[in-house]
Symmetry: C2
Subunit: 126 residues, 2 copies
Amino acid sequence: MSDYEHTCLIRGDGGATLRAILDQICNKWTLLIVATLDRGTLRFTDLHQQIPGISQRMLTLTLRNLERDGLVARTVYAEVPPRVEYELTPVGKSLIPPALALAGWAIEHVPHIEASRAAYQPKSGR
Amino acid sequence: MSDYEHTCLIRGDGGATLRAILDQICNKWTLLIVATLDRGTLRFTDLHQQIPGISQRMLTLTLRNLERDGLVARTVYAEVPPRVEYELTPVGKSLIPPALALAGWAIEHVPHIEASRAAYQPKSGR
DNA sequence: CCGAATCCTACTAGATACTG
DNA sequence: CAGTATCTAGTAGGATTCGG
């Protein structure tokens, strides 16, 4: 089947729906957290350590968004010290394959893109 | 095959490579432009009209980025009045399928996500 | 241990006006 | 026609501190 008939999926409502979702998963940490949680249930501190460079703030915010969107389940255990576990919901897991498709494309074409960037000479000014 | 072995694609170098690419295609207009150009070669004004809401500035900036990354070819005809045509390169076209995969996921799960958002009750404070 | 609250900075995108 | 220049507002993300 040709791409032609299907790019309407992207252009759809002017791209608004798709972009809303894309914005959500592109916000620098979401995809990384989802990919990390794909390995299994993790606690807050585990996530914080397994994702280098993330701040507590962004980890909290991103997890809240994922929870709100139903991609991640948050379980609080009433213990001392407190324990909170995060895991992917089925919907969250279903994001992995398309994300991998894009990741595969990215990895595959990074050399080309970087070469193109290096060779790029702006025609006017800069 | 399991996702497990492959999420390394996402986590790879801490997600930096993938995120660099994702940031590029998530910047609100890129995917829309690529999807529009998938229909064929277009001039600047055509693009401007076919993509509702985009400003001249953002169209120019996004096209420049795409050109720099080798996803879009820009052809200037030395005529009066000036004519500039944009078309996808093979690499640009190769972005369509994985983008469609993600778009399909988005469209499919938007109802679930919106329902989840509506039902979401923050547990603490807010 | 798991956050919430606050402050701060840099970048993005939009509006508008001007140019070769 | 196909841009460029300038200005501005909004937001994402980082650092730090405090609380249960």
